[in-house]
């Protein structure tokens, strides 16, 4: 089964473009399945279902969404395989900007939009830096000049990725995306595969539902910083 990981900030258009690209693949006779990893709530599986694409959504709830993703990847892969999919797309929203879901040997996509500000490519970090393909949405709302400058900033962060503009509303570019999805490497299993970027460490009292603020409540892997600069004499 071909596997694709898709990452990007909330509301940048991941679901819109994937719905259109997967629908195009289904039209071409390539069966797809989508797994949506989200944090608090999502109705995206309804959107996929309405387009006739088998999909399931899972929520990390009280857990770190990044760790939750890594922990459940084998099961997600197995579900898509059981659904008889030739192409499995894993859509992750709500990963922190310190993270990237991409795996070595698996096609990795990053979606960002043109309305995020010129520093966005720097800020969203590994999910963009580690991607094979960067898709830029909402370009129809901004000037050509901004699109080009933005693209240049993406290029500075990721020298190898293919960068494409795509429109989730009109579907422009989604057909090309379908072509790219159909060329994703086919893999046997995800077991023993490696993440391209390690997940952040997280073992402190707040991981275990602590809500109180204060040093005395903090145990485990705690990092204290020294603030300064502003008030120094």
């Amino acid at each position: 089964m071909r596997l694709v990981t898709v990452a990007g900030p909330p509301s940048c258009g991941k679901t819109s473009i994937l719905t259109k690209a997967c629908a195009e693949l289904m039209r071409q006779g390539v069966s797809c399945a989508v797994v949506k990893f989200d944090c608090l709530q999502t109705r995206d599986s309804d959107i996929y279902a309405a387009a006739g694409i088998p999909a399931t959504a899972v929520l990390s709830g009280g857990l770190c969404p990044d760790h939750f993703f890594a922990t459940n990847l084998e099961e997600a892969f197995a579900w898509a395989k059981d659904a008889g999919a030739e192409c499995c797309v894993i859509e992750t929203a709500g990963l922190c900007n310190r993270c990237s879901p991409h795996l070595r040997g698996v096609l990795g996509l990053c979606v960002i939009d043109n309305l995020m500000g010129i520093e966005a490519p720097k800020k969203i970090g590994p999910m963009l830096r580690m991607a094979d393909l960067v898709l830029v949405t909402k370009g129809d709302l901004v000037s050509q000049a901004e699109r080009e400058v933005y693209r240049h900033r993406i290029r500075q962060m990721n020298s190898k990725a293919i960068i494409r503009h795509i429109n989730g509303l009109t579907g422009q570019g989604c057909r090309d995306l379908a072509t790219i999805l159909a060329m994703a490497p086919s893999i046997e299993k995800v077991t023993d595969m490696r993440l391209r970027f390690p997940m952040p460490a997280a073992v402190c009292s707040y991981c275990l539902s602590e809500t109180r603020i204060g040093s005395r409540y903090q145990k485990g892997n705690v990092k204290k910083v020294t603030f300064g600069g502003a008030h120094e004499q």
């Binding site: 129809d140 000037s143 000049a145 400058v149 422009q172």
Partner: protein
């Protein structure tokens, strides 16, 4: 990234078929420095035609057209690399959203193009934009504070002088408060292939030729005739008169 910059002698769109499967009758060849207008009602196939160019169609889009660069089919690798980068687009509904000063931004754009002298290039672009805009703006003003006309002018000047793409598509920006004839001069000098989708008579007649769309295909290619040139001159005169009256009204002068 020099790979981002591309020069072309010609782009050919070979004939495909319309929405009912009937064959188009002609190939269309575009060359740098000429202006082509696209005409036809909504849904007649203008966007489809442009998308074919942008995606370097190879009989794999609904129209079954094929795009040749300099009379040859790009090889798969080059095609993949160029897809979506051939066409720079400007349309009515575009805005500046970046929180930057005009000069800063245009200089950044020039730097991204590896211009020899980004400062001087930025000055040139801003000067050209101010020539097009009805009301000049200061180089240090924020992009987001520009009026509609100033934004459009800056977008046109920047696209003509700084954009990577060899093809420039302008989509219905006739009502934007931009000096049309100056804009067209700037675009012709830019040595790009300029395509204008418009319903504006002056813009449509200013083009060297007009592609007429119907049912998803090019129905006709009309070259500008002698009579149409005279008509254009008359329309431009009428527009000038109209603009004169508008500016006098603006200044609060009586119009006896």
């Amino acid at each position: 990234m020099s790979s981002d910059i591309l020069t072309l002698q010609s782009v050919t769109v070979t004939s495909g078929h319309d929405k009912s499967g009937r064959a188009e009758t002609m190939d269309v060849v575009f060359s740098p420095g000429e202006i082509t207008a696209l005409l036809g009602p909504t849904g007649s196939g203008k966007s489809r035609f442009l998308y074919d160019i942008e995606s370097l169609a190879d009989r794999d889009t609904p129209s079954n057209r094929c795009v040749l660069l300099d009379d040859a089919k790009p090889d798969p690798e080059r095609r993949f690399e160029l897809q979506g980068r051939l066409v720079a687009q400007l349309s009515q509904n575009m805005n500046f959203v970046l929180d930057m000063g005009v000069r800063d931004f245009i200089r950044t754009h020039a730097e991204s193009r590896e211009a020899d002298d980004p400062e001087a290039t930025a000055d040139t672009v801003i000067q050209a934009a101010n020539d097009l805009a009805g009301e000049p703006f200061h180089p240090d003003v924020q992009l987001t504070q520009l009026s509609g006309g100033q934004s459009r002018s800056l977008m046109i000047a920047d696209a003509a002088l700084l954009s990577w793409s060899p093809i420039l598509l302008i989509d219905e920006i006739e009502n934007a408060g931009v000096d049309k004839s100056r804009a067209l001069d700037l675009l012709v000098k830019s040595d790009k292939i300029v395509v204008i989708a418009t319903h504006d008579p002056v813009l449509a007649l200013s083009a060297n030729r007009r592609l007429v769309f119907e049912n998803g295909a090019v129905r006709d290619v009309l070259m500008r005739s002698e009579a149409e040139e005279q008509l254009l001159a008359r329309l431009e005169q009428m527009e000038e008169e109209y603009a004169g009256i508008r500016s006098r009204l603006r200044k609060g002068e009586p119009l006896e």
